[in-house]
């Protein structure tokens, strides 16, 4: 093993939260950009606009689940 199990879990936690932060910020930004009327008008295709919004919502849900999973792990560790 490269590091102890505890340090490995610290690493996994830090990596998870870092990715959650970057990914979450991107999806919240995309929602804020595309959801209002001015953002919607930039899309030629209404269906593609809906796909983008749905994708960002799924992204945000995944982030929330990811953070919940990390908290759940440390509460049971």
């Amino acid at each position: 093993m490269m590091v102890s199990e505890l340090h490995f879990m610290y690493f996994v936690t830090a990596a998870s939260l870092l990715i959650c932060g970057i990914w979450g910020a991107r999806d919240v930004y995309l929602l804020a950009k595309n959801l209002p009327r001015r953002g919607r008008e930039k899309w030629k295709d209404e269906a593609q606009w809906r796909d983008q919004i749905f994708g960002s919502v799924v992204g945000v849900v995944i982030i929330i689940i990811g953070i919940f999973g990390v908290i759940r792990f440390w509460m049971r560790y």
Binding site: S16, A47, D51
Partner: protein
């Protein structure tokens, strides 16, 4: 410098991802999970670079995109199955995730037929879910709430595939 459609730096990077599979099996078999995790990170990391290299060397091609998609499916499918085999991930959601992935690929072929040309339906939600599956592999290797994350991924995949199936098979297709 001009590169061919098949032999180019981007496809070489994509193909090199298969080299992470044998050491992954070796270290999982010996219980060296941290080294196995390195292989997952390397495989996922190389996936981020092949597109950028294709643009840098101006060698992007339809074949490259297809090779990338097939490599994603084979490498991450392999990781998931192996983790289920060694008991790090539960079987039911893993089989569900892979089964839904196969069904989704079939629907994409039907969509291309409906459109009448070789076109891929871009699902922003599925892009995120595929990335999440990479993290699921990492959680499985680290034994980090792997069961919880497996079931969540499976449930999210069902929701996204239901949405995408309606878009691909029911909604009007873009004109040629």
């Amino acid at each position: 410098m001009k590169f061919g459609r098949y032999l180019n730096p981007a496809n070489a990077i994509t193909a090199s991802r298969y080299l992470t599979l044998p050491p992954f099996v070796y270290w999982m078999d010996r219980g060296q999970y941290q080294y196995a995790m390195l292989m997952v990170v390397l495989c996922g990391g190389l996936d981020l670079f092949d597109g950028a290299v294709a643009r840098l060397f101006d060698c992007a091609s339809g074949f490259g995109e297809l090779l990338d998609a097939i490599t994603d499916a084979l490498c991450f499918g392999f990781f998931l199955v192996l983790l289920a085999l060694v008991g790090r991930l539960p079987w039911v959601p893993v089989v569900g995730i892979i089964g839904i992935g196969v069904i989704n690929a079939g629907f994409r072929a039907v969509y291309a037929r409906r459109v009448g040309r070789a076109v891929n339906y871009r699902s922003y939600a599925m892009e995120r879910l595929v990335a999440y599956t990479v993290y699921l592999v990492g959680f499985g290797v680290a034994d980090f709430e792997a069961e919880f994350f497996s079931w969540v991924t499976f449930i999210m995949m069902v929701i996204v595939v239901l949405h995408d199936t309606k878009r691909m098979l029911v909604d009007p297709v873009p004109e040629a």
